[in-house]
Amino acid sequence: MSSDPPHGRGRANSSSTPPVELRGIPGSAGFAIGPAIIVGARRAGLVLRRIPKHLADEEVARFEAAVATASAELREVAEKLGGDAPRAEVSILEAYVLMVGDPSLHEDVERRVRIDRQCAEWALDSAAREMSMQLQGSSDAYLAERSHDIEFVADCILKALSGKRPSLSIPDGDEPGVLIARDLSPAETVSLDRHRVLAIVTERGTRSSHTAILARALEIPAVVGAGEVLGRIAHGDRIVVDGLHGRVTINPSPVALEEAERRARRYREMAQGLRQLKDRPATTRCGTRIVLKANIELEGEAAIALEQGAEGVGLYRTEFLYLNRASQPGEEEQYQTYRRVVEALAPLPVTMRTFDLGGDKLAFALPIPPGHNPALGFRAVRLGLELPELMLTQLRAMVRASAHGNLQIMIPMVASLTELFRVRQLLEQAIAEIDARAQARAERVELGTMIEVPSAAILADHFATHSDFMSIGTNDLVQYTLAVDRTSRELARLASDLDPAVLQLLKGVIQAGKLKGRPVVVCGAMASDPLSAVVLVGMGLRELSLEASSLPEVKEALSRVTLEEAEDVARLGLAAQTADEVETLVAERFAPRLADLLEP
């Protein structure tokens, strides 16, 4: 973690190994840089040993001993977690204890040892594999996913069979490093020494899996569910872990390494300041109250949002539920997910956006071609209105989830009032269906329009009349207003959030909201940038929704600027002729004061 050039086994400057960036799930926030410490690719090394008949008793006894060890290990963790862990986590651990000692599994393994003369490891692996395949074949998606439970349990026993102590001991001579593993058992995670383990990267797991939960409790940065990493990382490779965004960089370039070190330093400083900052409401220097909410995508990020002091979720992107699957997510699955998010935040509000995807991303909605220009094609609300069942299913799930907290619905990519009216009808239909089933819901479910197509911004007056609230999605609004593809690196400098044309549109929307008494929020990337956030507040916005990771910086930035100063700059910006002018103006006024909060 020092800024000294990497030495020893680290290979940061090695030109022979190009940097590789991997994406995983943010398991535990924080940055770390260090050499990789690879922890066993267990199954890869599995070999079938034949067990002679006269040794079968011994082999079965070896299996039984391993079961006892694994079971004790799991029990210990369940106890250690005790009252702190969510109920569901403890009860899943209890289920694991039962599974480890399961009689069917035992019978199956014993049969394989005695009759097929397999060694215990092989017998267990085959038995578990068969069971998990049987589950995967289930037509029920939820049950099919339970096959992971069996694999996990088998791993626990396999590890005990190998005779390794459950705790991971890193030799004293080694420098602290980043642990790379397929998955860690609960006992291993608990036994980690946080001074020796800088971060954790696992192939398996989710934000709610034991590894992530324990890593957060131990304050060790972690990226979980990173996919096939063991084959790509060699022992000693220099690894950068960004647990906040779920990124892992292998052998970063010297420039990237320097950047990572700067980020790591800044994160540590912020994290320290954060603790005091977290519970302090966001205000300008003169005390004007600004509500800061978080944008989230994964269910588990609700917890991060709260940790960062968000006063709600201003944008919950629901797309991920639809990706990489053969069938549309059912109402029940969606309801359960939305409900957990709403409950995690309650009583704070959660604004859920209906799916914002192109037809090309949905394997199950194929009849609609993506078109040559997906940004202008069949996506988001357009797709939803073309496939109303898809949208109704999502709306029903959201309406049901509204019973469990404070939920609002927001529609993306609305270009005309006709679309808004049709969605409103679908929502009313969804509500009627829920009522007909006598299921619970909130008395009133607010429906807001996302203002991201220029036509909607231009007709903001009408949209304000017919929406419960408006949320400005600056990313798309900038892209559509300036006709710049925002995924293009070469064009990026042409797409400024602070372009006067964009500011004019924002002004119109903010005024329309004021006139009609409808809340206006900004939920795009613009709100995540401390300088732009100041401008937004100057333009009259009192609510911003941003990436949770930027929340502390933006909160701090706002606290250093008075409303009068922000309004002054907004006024000048609106009168400017070019984006350059606005950017120069904003930088001159605020950059010196906010320098420590800005990206380079």
């Binding site: 399961d102 049987q134 289930s138 029920d140 339970r146």
Partner: protein, 91 residues
């Protein structure tokens, strides 16, 4: 030795998943009698969480509980109640 039998429908939304299955197994294990869970042609030992899990029983599945031995009646009755009470889940 007594025999008992009952048919129950899985009513919790998530079906007989790991936690629900472990509740069923935990309860079955408290009885001295043998207990079986049957779904269509598939049969599992009710004291084996893997076996029960492998019945892959989503919401709406009909399960037959059979018990043989001491306390068989009470075993079937109590397991039936657990299933009907959606394993203590909200829905």
């Amino acid at each position: 030795m007594s025999l008992a039998r009952g048919v129950f429908e899985v009513r919790n939304k998530l079906g007989l998943h790991a936690r629900a299955a472990s509740k069923l197994v935990g309860l079955a294990s408290q009885f001295p009698c043998d207990v079986l869970v049957r779904r269509d042609e598939q049969t599992a030992n009710a004291k084996s969480v893997m076996g029960v899990l492998l019945l892959c029983s989503p919401c709406g599945t009909q399960l037959t509980i059979e018990a043989a031995g001491d306390d068989a009646d009470r075993a079937v009755q109590e397991i039936g109640e657990l299933i009907q009470n959606r394993f203590g889940e909200d829905e």
